[in-house]
């Protein structure tokens, strides 16, 4: 059963929400992101420029409708890596752009396989329908893995308490095993 570890990361030590509870105690919540390790070697153009894009930042965003591949990543893909999926004529115009990070960007839909890896050597290839933003490199965001569009098809995303892991939670994306 293929599985890959995901990791909670606090990317800014100062990113902490602090608040007072009614009893006067101080509550804190760290600003965490769920990170996946991606290895695009073999999918990007050969040569230093293309292969500098082989290990992009990748965050798992459980609130994203679909995965998002920004242009500075997809523009390095080899031909054939992405299967274009033209919009159906019934697709409303307002759904054909993506508003994010202070801007609105047109996008194309496409399908690709994203190879997830983890530091232990485990790997899981996920076939996803994603938004490929046409932003001219202006949209500076990580590769964003949403949960719809294939990531969870036949798979389980789960977290469980693990005192040995940073922030006490281990996260795993794995193929759904039979009983």
């Amino acid at each position: 059963m293929a599985r890959v570890r995901l990791y909670l990361k606090q990317l800014f030590p100062s990113h902490v929400y602090r608040f007072l509870r009614p009893d006067g105690t101080v509550g804190t919540i760290r600003g965490l992101r769920l990170i996946a390790y991606v290895r695009l070697v073999g999918l990007v153009r050969t040569g230093p420029d293309g292969e500098r894009a082989a290990f992009p930042d990748c965050v798992v965003d459980t609130g994203a409708y679909l995965s998002i591949v920004p242009q500075d990543v997809w523009q390095e893909f080899l031909p054939g890596v992405v299967t274009p999926l033209p919009f159906h004529p019934s697709m409303p115009a307002h759904l054909r752009s993506l508003t994010i990070a202070g801007g609105t960007f047109p996008y194309d839909l496409g399908e690709l396989t994203i190879p997830l890896r983890d530091p232990s050597g485990s790997h899981l290839d996920v076939r996803v329908v994603a938004k490929f933003t046409r932003d001219g490199g202006r949209l500076n965001i990580p590769l964003t893995l949403g949960l719809s569009g294939g990531v969870l098809d036949g798979r389980v995303l789960r977290a469980y308490p693990d005192p040995a892991t940073a922030f006490g939670q281990a996260w795993v994306l794995e193929d759904a095993g039979g009983p």
């Binding site: 390790y37 292969e51 290990f55 500075d72 990070a101």
Partner: protein
Amino acid sequence: MSAQPQPAQPQEKQQVMTEEDADRAFASVIWFYDQIAAGRFVEYEGQFIGICGEQVVAAAPSRPELYQKLDALGDSIKQFQVVVRYIPSGPNDPYFGR
């Protein structure tokens, strides 16, 4: 008969990332996340950085400018082991701050 000295062959320029390059680049990514979580890289906030091994080898305000700087380093670094990261300017930077 003594052997004739052979003229040095020009070394072929590397064209493709090898498995070893990829493994080392991946190790740099792991190292990067450990470092940024520890509060490193504040001097690069708002910039793109190129990492080779456990070292920042170049930084620039945009990806194209960074690539120019990396290219200018030539063979002084392992070009195929470089990974690129953006260092957000803070928690409210849209890069990670959504």
